[in-house]
Structure formats: structure tokens, C-alpha cells
Amino acid sequence: MRILLAEDDELLGSGIKAGLTQQGFHVDWVRDGVAAERELLAGDHQAVVLDLGLPRQDGMDSLRSARARRIATPVLVLTARDAVTARIEGLDAGADDYLIKPVDLHELAARLRALVRRAHGQTQTRLEAGPVTLDPAAHQVWLDGATVELSGREYDLLQVFMLNAGRVLSREQIEQHLYKWGTEVASNTVEVHIYNLRRKLRGELIETVRGVGYVLRRDAAPAA
């Protein structure tokens, strides 16, 4: 899952980035409010961790501006302002969750997973599509109840497909979801991962839509 982190404090920012990376997220880090707004508008991330007291532009303004342009990316506000009015203002400005510093890494990760899940209309903690089950918290995948071993990239790819089950995704969209900035992506990397996924799961689960992209069938029939 690709996460945008907007935090101006070097020490805290590097900590959150390292911690979330350990938790299996891909983190892009910006250090001021203007960059945060720019990235929010670009919409490449599944969720945003936003500090409010940012240089150049307050995080609250970045958030308001993005929401005014109908950017629906879930935003978790992370701040040291604990006044109730500040919290209310943050939630009203379009924040989906609010955490007061200091935060627990595991709680932050769990809240981000929940935000992403809800943003995709899922209420179950586990994602399900036909015979496949994915548990984002445990980082585990089952096919017909049997554990499937996937590499990190394969897991990320499957999660993108399952969050967007039934929707056709282009190769560019998949790359944006998977790779943080500055990552060199070979032209056939996504194809290779899809090939591997099909091999480890079941061939017909991920269909190729010629000239457009790929789709995970929501109603894939369980194994006979």
C-alpha cells in the first residue's frame, strides 16, 4: 500500500517512514504543506498521514483544498494539537481519522489499514474475492482455506486487485499503487508479478482485458 507522509520533523518523519515500511507500507515523505497538497491532488496514494503544523502551508489548508477538489483519499491527521476544537476542525476539514502525538506504530498501521479498507467499501478486516482471502493485518493469503506463500510484491499486487475487485486496472495504475517515487520499474515487471500470482493462485482469477489492463473477478467460483 502506498502511503503519503507529510511531516516536517526530520526525526519523527524518518521514524514513521521506517516504521510503516516495516509494517509493509510503501511510504513517500513530503516535508511541507504545499508539497502535501500537490501529492494529495496527484492521487497516487491509498492513504495520507498528515501533520497539521507544516511549514509553508498548514496541513489543514492542504486537506481543505484537496477535499474542495473532490479528492477522496483517506487522510489520517497526526498532530500535537489536542484541543477538542482543533480535533473537530480537523475532522470537519475532511480528515478521516485523528491521532495525537505520540502514537504507537502498530496503532497507526492498523488505523491506516482500516482507512484504506473502508475507502474501498470494505467493512470486513479480511478481503475476500471468490476463493481468495487476504488478511492485511496478518499479511497472509489463503486460497480455499490453504495458506499461499507470496513474495512482498506479489502480496501488494494481490491487495491492489482485491481492494479494486471487479474494476479494470491499467498497468500504469498498478505501478502507481505499487511503487514509491524513484523506483525504477522495468516495462514487464507487472506482467511478471501477475504471471506469478496466476501460477500460485488460479489462472482464471485475474483476467486480461486486452488493450486496457487487468481485472480480478469478484465472483470467481470456488474450486469445485
Binding site: 516536517d8 520533523d9 526530520e10 526525526l11 519523527l12 524518518s14 521514524g15 514513521i16 521506517a18 516504521g19 516495516q22 509494517q23 503544523g53 511549514p55 509553508r56 500535537a80 494539537r81 489536542d82 484541543a83 495525537i100 502525538k101 505520540p102 502514537v103 504507537d104 506504530l105 502498530h106
Partner: protein
């Protein structure tokens, strides 16, 4: 501080009771004086009137011949008036009492032959006596009246004016009580309005619809409320800033510690632990700064001078040089340059540690809020008329948009107020130091660098304490 507590009157009587007692006491005294004056005046008039009556009675006797008066058949005069019997008559002929009215004593009412009015005491009773010779030269006539009778008349006449006076007094008291009650009602209402307030309610009291006498009190109270509100707001802001400044390094420490905990590779763990230690150092420095400020505030609050001997002094130039060496790297990362213009050592009456805090907050902020490649300049000045020293921190980006320039002070205040600096408590600290050391701090646009300019002046007047 004025000893206002000692100036309070010792009496705890209410205004109403005091006014009532004063007015009634004065009215009572005036009435008493009037009564005494009336007593003497009426007594005098009464004496003259009754003396005339005595003379009239005597003149009737003088016209009679002695033989007409003499004899036992002198009838008692008919009682025509209730006061009449008090008049007594004696007629003496050749030293012998020949005629006397029944109420007259046998002892002579008068001694000697001298005619005229006098007061004599017979058998312990005071008489007013008129003596006159009769028709025959050897006849002497005394007409007398008891002084006590005159006294009774005087008392009776005074009684008639005393009753209305005594009856009017309670009525007057009631009227005064009612009038005073109405007059002090605005005060009572003001008291109730203040008493019913919650401690947080510091909005001003309405100053219209109060009498001119009460208006100064309302104005003074409103001034107090305003000062309290300012103080509360400054405390609230300071607490919020302190919370933010302490929470961020603690959040970083916690996060880095968890990263170290969950690290699977040794370099990752080492890096996270190093960052944890860095965070601890930062939190420790912040805590130290906060404690320093709190101690200063405490000292000022207890009325103790910050620097009683005036011996505390630090070199502004040395402090600025030290800070620049520290911030050089941070500036280089963003291509910013730091410059210092100083005439040589500039001494300011301030502890070196706090001078560092002030310099760091201003400079760090200038670097932080100016764009990449900008220049930040510190200029120092020595003594000049009205100042001990001055510090000017200017930053210059390639021009600020006009709307940002218009909101410069506000932005500066807000951004610093939210404690964005990495090494201090932002604007609150600058403001607090300014207040403690009587510094004048102003913010405007830098004419040379086109960015923000903060001017700090150490004035040569001692800091105001409150």
C-alpha cells in the same frame, strides 16, 4: 504594587446603613438645636407676656382705695381661666398684711419698698413678683406668679411642636432608606453580575445604563477582566506550544524505538537507536529550556528581580557566531546563506543561555520560512540613544506575494505560535523573554532583503513587571 488592601475602610457597615445613620443623626441634631432655641425664645416671650399680665393685674389694684380692699370680705376672684389661680396678690399697709388672695403665701412676696419686677424664693418656691405702691403712699401691693406655672405653659407649648417632629422622624427614615436603596441599586446589580460570573467569563461588563458614579468602577473592572483574559490566553498558548514542542520529540523517540524493536537488519536497528538518542537529547534540551522559563516566570511572579545586581551580561556577537556555526549545515542543505554584521562585542543584560534561546528561535525561524537559496542576515548594534543593543534578523526570498506580505505579522505570529521551530518554543519564548527583559520586538518587511525583518531592542529603561 499599591497597598490597596490597607486603604480599605475598617468599617464593615453597608453604604445604606451608613447613609441612613448619618442623615438621621444629622436631622435629629438639627431638630434638637431647633427645640433648644425654641425653648429659650418661647420662654423669653412668655415671660414678657406674663409680666405684662402681672402689671395689668397690679394696676387694677393700684386704682382701688385701701378701705375698698381691706376687710375679711374680700372675695376670691372668680376663676375665669385655668391659669388664673396661679396669680397671687398681697396688699401691705404699714408693714401689715391687710389683703391677700387665698393662693398667696403669708410671708411677704417682696422685700423692701422698691417697686418693680423681681424673682424671689418663698418656702422653696420661685415666684415672679411685681411690687408697686398703692393709691395711698403707705400701701404696698405685690402681685406674684409661681415660676413653675410659667414652666408648665412653656412645656405645653413646646409639646405641641415636639410631637409632629418625633412622628416625622420614622417617616423620614423610611423615605431615606427607600431613596438610598434606589441609589445603590446599580452597585448591587453590578455586584450580582460579577458574582454570578463563571471564572472563565471575562467579557466586559456593559458600561452604559450605569450612573456616572459607578462607571469608573465598571471601567476598572473591565480593564482587570481584559488583563486576566490576556494572561489566560498567553498561558493557554504557552501550554499548547509547550505541549506541541514536547510531544513531537517524544513521538519521534517512541516511533524510532518501535522501529528498532521491529528491525530485522542490524544497520536499520543501529540507525533507529541513534535517532532515538537524538530525540532524547532534543527532548532534554527542550525540557531544560521550559524549566528555565518557568523558573524565570516564577521569580518574576514572586516579585524578585531577575538580576538584582545588574551583573548578568552576555556577548551578543559571540552568541550569534556560535549559533551560526551550529546552523550553517542546516542552511547549506537548502542552499541558504547566513550572514552576520557585528561592530564587535555587544553586551546585553541577559543570561547567555537565554540569549541563545532568543537568537536560535529567530534565526531558525527565518531559515525555515524563507525559500531555498535565500539569504538570512543577522545585524547587531551597540549602545545608542534609548537602547543598550539591538538585533535585527532579516530573511530574503525573491520577494513575497503581496497578500502574504499583508498577512506577514499574522503569519509570523501564527506559525511561530504553533511552535514550528525545531529547537525552541517559538514565538511564545520570544515574547516571554521580551516581557521579562523589557525588550522591544517588532516585525516588518525587510527593505534590503525583501523578506521578513524582526527587530529586537534592549532598551535602557528597566523592564516593566506585572
Amino acid at each position: 504594587m499599591s497597598p490597596s488592601g490597607a486603604a480599605l475602610p475598617r468599617s464593615t457597615l453597608s453604604l445604606q446603613a451608613r447613609l441612613l445613620a448619618t442623615v438621621l443623626g444629622l436631622v435629629g441634631l438639627v431638630w434638637l438645636a431647633v427645640a433648644v432655641a425654641t425653648w429659650y425664645d418661647t420662654g423669653h416671650e412668655l415671660d414678657e407676656l406674663l409680666d405684662a399680665h402681672l402689671a395689668q393685674a397690679a394696676s387694677l389694684l393700684v386704682t382701688q382705695r385701701l378701705d375698698e380692699l381691706e376687710g375679711d370680705n374680700f372675695p376670691p376672684p372668680p376663676t375665669l381661666h385655668k391659669y388664673q389661680t396661679r396669680v397671687a396678690i398681697q396688699v401691705w399697709h404699714e408693714g401689715r398684711l391687710v389683703v391677700r388672695s387665698t393662693n398667696a403665701p403669708e410671708a411677704p412676696l417682696g422685700f423692701g419698698e422698691a417697686p418693680g419686677l423681681r424673682t424671689s424664693v418663698i418656702d422653696g418656691e420661685a415666684w415672679r413678683v411685681l411690687t408697686t405702691p398703692g393709691r395711698e403712699p403707705d400701701v404696698l401691693i405685690h402681685v406674684g406668679e409661681l415660676e413653675s406655672a410659667r414652666h408648665d405653659i412653656l412645656l405645653a407649648s413646646l409639646r405641641s411642636i415636639a410631637w409632629p417632629m418625633l412622628l416625622a422622624l420614622p417617616l423620614l427614615a423610611l423615605g431615606i432608606w427607600w431613596a438610598v436603596r434606589g441609589a445603590v441599586r446599580p452597585l448591587r446589580q453590578l455586584g450580582q453580575a460579577v458574582a454570578l460570573r463563571r471564572p472563565q467569563a471575562l467579557q466586559p461588563l456593559s458600561a452604559h445604563a450605569v450612573p456616572p458614579e459607578v462607571a469608573p468602577l465598571v471601567t476598572a473592572l473591565n480593564g482587570l477582566f481584559q488583563r486576566m483574559a490576556d494572561l489566560l490566553e498567553s498561558e493557554r498558548r504557552f501550554t499548547a506550544d509547550a505541549a506541541h514542542e514536547l510531544r513531537t520529540p517524544i513521538a519521534a523517540i517512541r516511533m524510532q524505538a518501535q522501529v528498532a524493536q521491529g528491525a530485522t537488519r542490524e544497520p536499520e536497528r543501529t540507525q533507529a537507536l541513534a535517532a532515538t538518542l537524538l530525540g532524547c537529547d532534543r527532548a532534554a534540551r527542550l525540557t531544560e529550556q521550559l524549566l528555565q522559563l518557568a523558573r524565570l516566570e516564577d521569580e518574576v511572579a514572586r516579585g524578585g528581580p531577575v538580576d538584582p545586581a545588574g551583573t548578568v551580561s552576555a556577548d551578543l556577537t559571540a552568541a550569534a557566531l556560535g549559533l551560526m556555526a551550529e546552523l550553517e549545515l542546516q542552511a547549506q542543505v537548502r542552499g541558504q546563506s547566513l550572514a552576520l554584521l557585528a561592530p564587535g562585542p555587544v553586551h546585553v543584560p541577559m543570561p547567555g543561555a537565554l540569549l541563545q534561546v532568543l537568537l536560535r528561535n529567530l534565526t531558525d525561524n527565518a531559515l525555515r520560512y524563507s525559500p531555498d537559496g535565500a539569504r538570512v542576515q543577522l545585524s547587531l548594534e551597540g549602545p545608542a540613544p534609548g537602547q543598550v543593543a539591538a538585533l535585527v534578523v532579516e530573511d530574503g526570498g525573491p520577494g513575497l506575494p503581496p497578500e502574504a506580505m499583508a498577512r506577514l505579522g499574522e503569519r509570523f505570529f501564527r506559525v511561530l505560535g504553533t511552535g514550528q521551530t525545531g529547537s525552541g518554543l517559538g514565538w511564545s519564548i520570544v515574547q516571554r523573554l521580551a516581557r521579562l527583559y523589557g525588550l522591544s520586538v517588532s516585525v516588518d518587511r525587510s527593505p534590503a532583503l525583501r523578506g521578513l525583518r524582526v527587530t529586537v531592542i534592549w532598551t535602557d529603561t528597566p523592564p516593566r513587571r506585572y
